[in-house]
Each structure stands twice: as C-alpha cells, then as structure tokens.
C-alpha cells in the first residue's frame, strides 16, 4: 500500500517565503520559455523521471516533510492515523480509507521517510507559488520521484505528467503587456494552493446588470455568456454552451418582489407578430401612437387607453407609473383569453405505500404528522383540495365527505381493471373536511402498523390517482417504499449488476424500464398533474423508472435510502413541509422568446415540451430551474443587441391567473475574446451538468465524463489560439478570468453522484435520484453541491465571545482537499443536502464532550447532534441552524464522522473532497495537468 500520490504534494506547510521569492518577487518578465529543451521534454507524455536539480526549487522541499519532525501531531492537516507500529520507520504510513479491500479512499501520499531522498527529489510536484494572485495555471511538474516510490500501475496518469525543469526561470512571469483581466498569467510553478477556487461561492457577473439596469435580475435569467456572437462561424469557435438558465419563480429577497400590474381595459400590450409582451426595451414613436417591438421590430399601434404623450427625448410622460416599461421583471394579471377554464384551486393528492416497510421504518408516522401540521399552511385557503389513496397489494380509497366524522375506507383489490369507487368525496375541500382529514391522518400510522404485506401495487394506484385527479389536475405526492411489484408498471429487480457497467447497455439501467411510466407522465402533464416522488427503500427501488414520472411532469425526486424515522425523520419533515407550503404556480406554461436570427434549440430540465418551444409545467415553484441552448439561424446578426423574454403563464394559489415576464438584453459582438470576458461560469456549469446527466441516459458514464473534459479542453484551446498569436505563451495554460473556476467545476461534475466512478461508487438509485435532482437545481444551489463548503469551527467554538454576528467569520470556506483538514480541528462540510461534522482525531476531548454529551467516545454513527446544556453546544446548534436557514429548499441532514472511522468517513466525507484523488478519480492538480496537456496537444 505504498501508493503515493504525486498529486498532493502540497501540505499546509507552505514554502517559506525565501523559497518563493526568487519567483515571486522578481520574475523575469516576459522571458520566453526556454527553448525546446525543457519544454518539449516537459510535455511529452510518459517522460518520466528527471532529476529536478534546479536550485531554486530546492527550498520548498525543505518545508516538506524531511525537515519536519516525524511526529504526526506536528503535521497539521493530514488526516492520518497514528503510525501503525511495526511496518517501517515511516511515520506517515499511507492509510487506506476505503472499505476493506477496496482501497478506494486511499488518498494521502506516503510521505518520504525522514531520512528519505534528497530534498530536491521530494519536491517533485511541488512548485513555486503563483506570481499573480489570480492565476495559477499549471504547468506541470510532476515526475516520478527517484526515491524509490514505485507507483502502482493504474494510477498511471500522474506519472505521465510532464515534468518541467524547475530551473526554468521565465515560466509564468507575468508579462507586463498582458492586461491581467484578459490574460491571466500562468505559472511554471505549480502550487495547488493557488489554484482558483470558488471559495466565495457563486459570483455572478455583474458588469451586465450595471450596463443594462433594466434587465431582469440574474436570479431569474442567466446567460452563459452575456455577449452573443454575431455569426455562425464565431459561434462555432465558442465551444462552450450558448444558452441560458432560467429560474422563473426564484425567491426574491424582501423588498424586491416582482411588481404585479393590471392592464385593465386596454388588454395586455403585446406585439402583433411575435407576441412579445411590452417591456422596457420597446420604443415609442409617432408621438406616442405607435410602438416598435424590440424583438421583431414590428411597428404596433398603441391602444387608446394606453396612449401617453412623449417628452422631448422620446420617453413616455407616464413612465414612472408604468412598471412594465421600467422593470425587467413584472407580473401581469391575465384576462379571460389566457384561460381555458376557471383558475384551478391548489390540489394536493397523496399516494402512500403502506406496505410492511413503510410502517416499520416510521415513514408513515412522520409523513402523516407532517402533512397534518402543514394543513394550516397549504396555499390557497379556502379552496385547497386534498385527497389520499394508500396501497399495498390492494388499493384503499378514503371517503372524506365533510359530513362524516371518520373517513370511510374502501378497498379495491381488482388491479387489472381499476375503477374509482366514489365519484366525489375522494378529493375534498380541505376547509370543509378538515376534521375528517385530521382524523384520517391521526389514524393512518395505526391502521397499518401491523401490516405485513410486502407487495406494492404501485402502477394501479397511480392509475387510480390519475382517474381521481384528471378533472382538475394538481400535485401528486407519491410515497414509495419498495419496488412496484404488482399490476401494470411492475418492475424487475434489474438491480445493480456491476457486469453491465462498461458495456454498451450500461445506460439502460438509468432509463425507465417500462414504457408505462413515460406514458403515465405524459398523460398527467396533459391534465395538469405534477408528480413528486418520495422514495424510502433501503433496497433497489428503480428510481430510474419512478423518477421518470417526476421528470416529465416538472416534479422532483426525494430519495431517503434506508429511511429510519429516528435518523431521517427531520429531513423528511422539513422537505415535505417545504414541498407542501412553498408558493407554487399551477397549470403553467413557459416560453422564452428571443430576437431574430437566433432561436432556442434545446431545453434541459424536468418538464414536458408541448410544442417546439412551449414548456408545460403542471406545478412549478421557486426551487426549479431550466436550462436551454441557443443556435444561430442566420449567418450574420446585424442588430447591435439581442433581447430575451421569458414568459410564464400560471395560476397562483390564490386563484389569479398571471403572466410573469422577464426581459433581458445582451449585446452582439464580433470578437471571441469579448465572449470569453462576459462568460458566466455558473450558468455554463449548470448547462454542462444537465448535458452530462442527459448523456448518461444514452451512454456510458465514462463517455459523459470525457465529453465534459473534451468541451473544457476545446474551449481553453480556442482561447489559447486566440492569444498565442500575439503573445509568446510557451507551454503555459491560459484561461479567461471569467472562467477560472470552470476546470474545477468540470472536475466536480465528473465527481458528482450521477457521474462518478463505476458501479461501486454509488448505488444506481442514488445516482438516478441525484441526477433527477440536479436536473432541476438553480445555479447557486448546483454550484454549492458541486463544490461544497468546508469550514473549521473548533476555534470559533472555543472563543468565549458568543456573538451571533461573528457567524460570517466562521463560515470562511476552505479548499476542499485533505490538506485543509487538521486532525486537531472540527470541520463542517456543507453541500446543501448534507452536513458532515468531521471530528479530527486530535480534537480536544473537551470539545467533543461538550458537543456530544456522554456519548462522545461512542461510535459516531449512532450519535446525533443534540443541544447540550452548555454554551459551546448551543453555539454549534445555532450555527447549524443558521446554515440550514440560508437555504430552505432542502434540509441538510447532519452526519458525525470521526477521523479514521472507516468506512463511514470515506463514504460520507472523503469521497466528496472534490480536489482529492480517490479510487479511480482524478485530483484537481492532475485534472488541470490533463487538461493542460490536451490543450497543448493540438494547439
């Protein structure tokens, strides 16, 4: 097990300043790469060892292990166990963190023995710090260490990393002529610590918001680049996606809510030809009698009621009373023409599996309690309707007529020919039947607590629910505990057969097995039924098939593998409550219009396309986002700007029909560099993630990951070509400032649950569930999931001051690698879905005792964080609460992990350290090197 990882040469101990000063302080500016020699060697794959004898590099090595005491405690940040007694004098044994035999979590490099190789050799892979704050790109410096560290076969690629002569002086010196923003510098030295990391979370490009203050806010619409190429040839050179991510109902902070307007008798002002809604970018002419559509430049008449005189500058006099002419986002009350039927009431229908495991796991109880506690907060009082069907091997309907005191249960056991026993009273008005509904929810867990039926007639139950709901539509919440086993839509245990992975058939596991599901989803969308799937089984439930229902009806999949109410109860409670009480838009359709010459060609997310560009969304809320890609139709865009308008027509829970309109503008450019400058990493990553997940539904995981890498490589190569002409770049990797996080996020996508590794890394259900979830996530949330935050809290906890205000201080994010971890610390890892509290092995027992009470020494998998009677614990709970409140869309569950506790640590925590190498995946450094090499190859 002496696998060492060259990719992680960098430990918290930084090179002393002296070592870096030769580079940092006086980089020979503009020195061209030294001819062929080092370069060509450097980038030839498989050039293995070279002896890094260059003096300048020597010092950094010194900082590394050899000069340090072999005591573990003196090496902060390495999660390494105490040395196992016998094997060697090596006090830093490599430790396998993986499950026994798997070794997949092995990650820490084996450090050289104290008496090890000469310094100069160890430094392979250690590099001078970056010359400029922004830009680290990599030049690779890894090489085999001639110290006798044989690399095991299979971790091969880092060995092939091109070594670079450490004495190479000019590499990466900032070239004075490069304006830093557009030509990020490159370094020959490779200091992973200086790689760009999105530690501030998602930074939205805001130059545009300033330039076009009338654009809608970026939380509603984000373009992948705010500069639209003018010609197809330019677009084809832009290898990144060209498109947008739309989150039409994003939650607005207090005071920035979208204005509601009513056009009244004049009717909604829209362009006659392209049906664009009136917006801030239309122009009024002919002294106010005509207006020109900004999207198709059609001249329209202004209706009499809407007429207003123009002032000398051509602006309307009543501009300040017309929010639709000053704001990028407005909500319009729709007249009768926009309704095919009266606005529907909010409808919640529950389809609950009550077979054996549902009662046993406590799911029924938690769900029933949560639904009951939410009854008061369901939107749309007093029109809200509610209904229930439960099922095991038979279907149970409940008559909830308001005049009854107890619900009546009706059992239908004919699964082949489903019928609904009552025409009405299965779906009832909540305010009228409140007592019956409550009585039902109280008795639900008791009714089935001794149920030993393990069958699940899911398909027939779904059909029955469909028959009850198809008059009005609404939201269908499915609680599924086992694999559907009876009736239509029964599924086979096609399971996690590892042999299928890697073959051409691999993808079939990830798509619905039975056409029944897609058909049902299509029917449901047609009748305005949105489906959310809650799955609880610890065994295979075929989320791939069940999730199809949610995918095509604009819903969501919630997956709680191995649900236990004591552990997952809180999570289910919060997420179900959120699902039930958040503001929801019913029976909606969305369309995005754009200027002449371009059109939206593909849409990605959870929805059904009704026509080529009309997105049908039976139920949509603030936690759903949709991505779309643009194509240029005409070879040359002649207009100076392009406009986009998103329109969502929906019924609000209060019974109003509304149209939400977001308008944005982007300039047309002829320069590729400008496009790079205006690129928005978050949006690009969002589109890529969706593309990659879609790719896994038709191909191998490997292919999907390669596609991501290839796309990034192509983009960077193009960027390189763009600049290599004017500047002698040598072999440096350059990238635009706006895309500095792109490679890292690309790596994170490849390591995300739907795409990571092979069969052993994530169960098929988890993969599919994560895939469905990520297809719908808004940009910010997705970026947080891809690059979760990690922060250290023990010091903060020990600080006596118990101010609430210093929370910001403690939430400073750390790079997501093992180097950030100190075994004396307590860390919190937060990806928006899970919180992991990582207890370092050397963490003072006092802290653990304070936080965990008497259980502090026990196996942490059985301990939960509870508030103890002391300040420290209260402080921590407050912090956790705060973190959870920051984003209420999901409830991050809290896991406790102690360093070295295997295999939990590996599964819960280590494998999510994006920057580290694990199993077959790549570390950040290696990833950059790989990309760099590929960029070079065909440059």
């Amino acid at each position: 097990m002496n696998t060492e990882n060259q990719g992680y040469p960098n430990f918290p101990a930084r090179p002393p300043p002296s070592s870096s000063s030769p580079f940092a302080s006086a980089p020979p500016p503009g020195v061209p790469p030294q001819s062929g020699g080092p370069e060509s060697v450097g980038f030839r794959p498989h050039t293995r060892p070279f002896t890094p004898s260059g003096p300048p590099m020597a010092p950094p090595v010194g900082v590394m292990r050899p000069f340090q005491s072999p005591l573990v405690s003196q090496i902060p940040g390495q999660g390494i166990r105490p040395p196992p007694p016998p094997p060697s004098s090596n006090s830093f044994p490599s430790t396998a963190y993986g499950p026994p035999g798997g070794g997949s979590f092995q990650r820490f490099p084996t450090p050289p023995p104290p008496s090890g190789p000469p310094q100069t050799q160890t430094l392979a892979g250690h590099f001078s710090p970056p010359r400029q704050p922004m830009g680290p790109p990599p030049q690779s410096l890894t090489s085999g260490v001639p110290g006798g560290y044989a690399s095991p076969p299979g971790t091969g690629f880092q060995q092939s990393m091109p070594p670079v002569n450490p004495s190479y002086p000019g590499v990466g010196g900032p070239q004075p002529s490069f304006p830093p923003s557009s030509y990020p510098p490159q370094t020959g030295g490779l200091d992973p610590a200086s790689f760009p990391r999105p530690l501030d979370g998602d930074v939205e490009p805001n130059t545009f918001a300033e330039m076009y203050p009338m654009n809608c806010h970026s939380r509603y619409l984000r373009l992948t680049t705010s500069a639209i190429p003018s010609s197809q040839s330019l677009a084809s050179r832009w290898h990144l996606p060209l498109g947008a991510v739309v989150c039409p109902l994003a939650e607005a902070p207090e005071g920035e809510e979208v204005t509601l307007i009513d056009f009244g008798s004049s009717g909604i002002i829209r362009c006659r030809r392209c049906r664009t809604y009136v917006n801030p970018y239309v122009t009024f002419t002919d002294s106010g009698r005509k207006w020109r559509c900004n999207i198709c430049s059609m001249l329209n008449d202004v209706p009499g009621e809407y007429f207003s005189h123009l002032d000398a500058t051509g602006r309307r006099m009543d501009l300040d009373q017309r929010p639709e002419l000053t704001k990028g986002s407005v909500e319009i009350i729709a007249p009768t023409e926009y309704m095919v039927r009266p606005p529907m009431p909010p409808i919640y229908f529950f389809l609950i599996d009550v077979s054996f495991s549902a009662a046993k796991s406590g799911m029924l109880e938690v769900a029933a309690q949560t639904i009951k506690s939410c009854l008061d907060n369901l939107p749309g009082y007093p029109r809200t309707q509610i209904g229930f069907i439960t099922y095991d091997s038979t279907l149970h309907f409940y008559n909830m007529k308001s005049s009854l005191s107890q619900p009546q249960m009706m059992v239908v056991s004919d699964l082949d020919d489903i019928f609904v026993p009552l025409p009405d009273d299965l779906l009832v008005n909540l305010s009228e039947s409140r007592n019956v509904v409550e009585a039902f929810l109280d008795s639900l867990p008791l009714m089935f607590q001794n149920n030993v039926n393990v069958e699940s007639a899911f398909g027939p139950a779904l059909k029955a629910a469909y028959m009850v709901m198809n008059q009005l539509g609404g939201k269908l919440l499915i609680f599924q505990n086992s694999l559907p086993s009876l009736g239509a839509g029964r599924l086979k245990l096609r399971g996690d057969d590892p042999r299928v992975y890697g073959t051409e058939k691999e993808y079939t596991l990830r798509v619905a097995e039975d056409n029944f599901y897609k058909q049902m989803a299509a029917d449901c969308t047609k009748f305005q039924i949105g489906i959310n799937v809650y799955a609880f089984s610890d065994k295979y439930t075929d989320i791939a098939s069940l999730g199809t229902l949610a995918k095509y009806t604009g819903g969501q999949v919630y997956y709680y593998p191995g649900f236990q109410s004591s552990i997952h109860g809180d999570k289910l409670r919060h997420e179900l409550a959120r699902d039930l009480t958040r503001e929801t838009a019913w029976e909606s359709v969305m369309r995005i219009r754009c200027g002449k010459g371009i059109r939206f060609s593909s849409y990605h997310g959870n929805f059904m396309l009704r026509s080529t560009d009309l997105i049908a969304l039976p139920a949509v809320d603030c936690d759903k986002a949709y991505a779309m890609q643009l194509t240029l139709e005409e070879t040359l865009l002649t207009t100076p700007t392009v406009y986009f308008q998103v329109a969502l027509l929906y019924t609000a829970s209060c019974g109003e029909r509304r149209i939400r309109v977001h308008t944005a503008v982007a300039p047309v450019v002829t320069d590729l560099g400008e496009m790079y400058r205006q690129a928005d990493t978050g949006s690009i990553v969002s589109v890529y993630t969706r593309l990659a997940i879609e790719k896994t539904l038709s191909g191998k995981l490997d292919d999907a990951r390669n596609v991501i890498q290839q796309k990034i490589v192509k983009a960077l190569r193009e960027y390189r070509n763009l600049h290599s002409v004017q500047h002698r770049l040598g072999s440096r990797l350059i990238y635009p400032e706006s895309l500095k996080f792109l490679p890292l996020y690309g790596l994170a996508i490849c390591k995300s649950t739907p795409l990571q590794g092979g069969p052993a890394d994530a169960s098929l259900d988890e993969r599919c569930a994560a895939g469905f979830t990520m297809m719908a996530l808004p940009v910010k949330k997705l970026l947080k999931l891809l690059y979760p935050s990690l922060f250290r809290v023990d010091e903060w906890l020990l600080k006596p001051s118990a101010d609430v205000d210093d929370l910001k201080d403690v939430l400073r994010r750390l790079p997501l690698g093992a180097e950030s971890l100190d075994s004396r610390g307590l860390y919190i890892y937060d990806d928006g879905f899970r919180l992991v509290l990582w207890f370092g092995r050397m963490l003072s027992p006092d802290i653990a005792k304070n936080l965990l009470g008497a259980d502090f020494a026990a196996e942490l998998s059985r301990v939960t964080v509870q508030e103890q009677e002391n300040g420290m614990s209260k402080k921590l709970m407050r912090l956790i609460k705060k973190v959870r409140e920051n984003d209420p869309s999901y409830h991050p569950m809290c896991f406790l992990v102690r360093q070295g506790e295997q295999p939990r640590e590996g599964f819960l925590f280590l494998r999510h350290l994006t920057e580290d190498q694990m199993g077959g995946s790549t570390s950040y450094v290696d990833w950059i090197l790989q990309i760099h090499r590929q960029v070079q190859q065909n440059a």
């Binding site: 729709a334 007249p335 009266p342 606005p343 029109r383 008005n429 009005l472």
Partner: protein
C-alpha cells in the same frame, strides 16, 4: 341534475365565478361553454331580456336569472325540474350578494370571486338528487312560481341579436341609399329642366341679339 354553473357580470360579460368540476363527464362541454359565453355577450350588449329565462340547447337547458347586474346561469338536464333549478340559482344569488355584494362593480380581473366555487359546489350537491325530502318539499311549495318564465331556444336567443343587427344594418343602408336617390333625383330634375328650356332660351337670345345689333347699326 346541474351540469354547469357560471356567474358573470352583465355589464361587460366578465366571468366572476364558476363551479369547479364543471364539464365533468360532459363530452361537449366546450361547445356549451362557448354558447354560454355568447349568451353573456348578448346580454352585455343590452338587449332587453327578461330577468328570468330558460334557454333550451340540445339535451340540456340553461336557466338564468339576472339580478343586480349579475347573471347567474346553470345548465341542467331537460328533465330536471325547473323549479329546483331556479331555487338553486336563488340560493346562489343570495349568498353571492351577501358575500361579494359591494365588490361586484369594482372587480377587474376575470374570476375575481373564484373562491365562491366552494359554495357552488356545496349547494350543487344539495340539489343533485331530486327525490330527497328537502327537494320534494321545495317542489311542492307553491310560493315560488316559475310557470310564467319564458322558455326559448338557444338558436333563437343567440339569433335575436343577429337579426336585430341585420335589421338596423339594412335600415341604415336604406337611409343612405335613399339619400343618394334624392340627390340623384334632384340632379336629374335639373337636367330635364335644362334640356326642356335650353333651345327656347337660345333662340330668344339670338333674336334679342339680332335686335340689339340692328338697333346699334342703325
């Protein structure tokens, strides 16, 4: 049996409320809804209609009452007792006026009182079965008289507006054409006059001219 219930403002035909699962099991519900809409449009155009009326359409019949500028309309089977249908509408009217009375005039958006649908739903259920004690009692109650309510056919009702339009159009055309005729007649008259007297005038003129020339020369 009540199939469909709509409440609309007479002045502009704006729908105010509608029974919820209307159109359930009704194959042609869209067609009937369309008819209701044109009926409302007719009413809003102000053709003086009776405040209570029944309109036959296919196998069904619309009953409506107009009260306080609001029209309450329901569609029933033909076999459904007229008396019950109007009782039902009265109930709706009383409740609607009680709840929404002051806001009816100011309602701006369609279905502003959609919340009323729960009441419609509830009331509808009471009237669903004609044989319940309550409904039989209502049927036997002589206080509420419905015999004089007129029954017409939907084509007829919808046609009324059309015919009136046609007539007024014809009459206006008649007016303008007769005016044209008068002008033309006047013109012709003048021409006839000219044609009749012009030769005489010319001859006289020539004679006078000759006289004048003769006197001058001499």
């Amino acid at each position: 049996m009540v199939k469909m219930t709509l409440i609309a403002r007479v002045t502009d035909g704006l729908p105010l409320a509608e029974g919820l699962d209307d159109g359930r099991d009704l194959p042609d519900s869209d067609m009937y809804k369309q008819q209701v809409k044109s009926l409302f449009k007719n009413l809003s155009r102000g053709h003086n209609e009776a405040s209570r009326m029944s309109v036959e359409t296919g196998p069904y019949i619309f009953h409506y009452i107009i009260e306080g500028r609001v029209c309450y309309l329901t569609m029933c089977d033909r076999s459904y007792p007229k008396k019950l249908a109007f009782q039902y509408l009265e109930d709706l009217k009383n409740e609607f006026e009680r709840v929404n009375g002051p806001n009816i005039e100011t309602a701006a958006r369609p279905y502003a009182f959609i919340k009323f649908d729960t009441f419609i739903q509830k009331t509808k259920k009471l009237y669903q079965d004609t044989r319940t004690q309550r409904n039989i009692a209502k049927l036997n109650d002589e206080l509420y008289e419905v015999h004089q309510i007129m029954t017409r056919n939907v084509q007829e009702v919808l046609g009324v507006g059309e015919k009136l339009d046609q007539v007024s159009e014809m009459s206006s055309r008649l007016t303008s054409e007769s005016r044209v005729y008068a002008d033309k007649a006047k013109d012709l008259n003048r021409q006839a006059l000219i044609r009749k007297w012009a030769p005489v005038a010319i001859v006289l003129g020539v004679v006078f001219l000759l006289f004048w020339v003769k006197n001058k020369l001499w």
